[in-house]
């Protein structure tokens, strides 16, 4: 059991690192992004990576309450992506 717990801690550290690296790479694309579509895509990826960070934090702490946070972030991310894309397409969100 001690060996398995050590493995779990290593895996959690690797996952935190990968998600943080992904967040940084998406941020670089957000700054570089030649078109506005790239910027919306980078923001969408950052929201999904933040969702992953919340889920992994929930595993790390062993608390169930992080599930609601993750669900809220997923919904907010989808709505904001669609709103941004629609604003670029039409110049207006609700016509």
């Amino acid at each position: 059991m001690i060996l398995a717990t050590q493995f779990l801690n290593i895996a959690l550290a690797i996952t935190f690192l990968a998600l943080a690296l992904g967040q940084v790479m998406a941020m670089v694309r957000l700054l570089l992004g030649p078109t506005s579509g790239d910027r919306v895509l980078a923001l969408d990826t950052m929201v999904i990576n933040a969702l992953g960070l919340v889920i992994v934090l929930g595993i790390y702490k062993g608390v169930q309450i992080y599930f609601e946070v993750a669900l809220l972030i997923a919904m907010l991310g989808f709505v904001s992506t669609v709103a941004l894309a629609r604003f670029i397409l039409r110049g207006d969100i609700i016509e």
């Binding site: 059991m1 895996a11 998600l19 790239d38 999904i48 992953g52 889920i55 169930q64 397409l89």
Partner: protein, 123 residues
């Protein structure tokens, strides 16, 4: 070798696979050189990456003795909404002429994305 230990190893495996796909998606987003090509890379983050992390969360909740399968809700929500947001971003790319415009339709129509909306007074 009890079920709990085997479950912990499965949690580790799912976490590693998920983080691998997250990295693949992020590198693809950074390295590809065309907006439409860049669009396809982060879909791996949204489906396989987060899916494996959620599976790890489910197995871990069974491991620590508080079983819950709520995470399937997030998975279903992400699988439903990922194509819709990808479609919207693709439309933005077409609209901003960031990629080749699609060929004109046969009967002299325009694509609905490129159609200019008619003001209400002229309808």
């Amino acid at each position: 070798m009890t079920a709990q230990i085997i479950g912990t190893y499965f949690v580790c495996l799912s976490l590693i696979i998920g983080s691998g796909f997250v990295l693949v998606g992020a590198i693809g987003l950074l390295k590809f050189n065309d907006p439409m090509t860049r669009l396809h890379a982060p879909t791996k983050v949204g489906t396989v990456g987060i899916g494996m992390l959620l599976i790890a969360s489910i197995i871990h909740s069974f491991d620590i003795g508080q079983p819950s399968t709520h995470e399937l809700l997030i998975m279903a929500f992400l699988f439903v909404t990922a194509p819709i947001s990808a479609n919207f971003i693709g439309k933005v790319n077409i609209h901003c002429q960031a990629c080749d415009t699609p060929p004109p339709p046969a009967d002299g129509d325009t694509w609905s994305t490129l159609d200019v909306p008619v003001p209400d007074s002229e309808r």
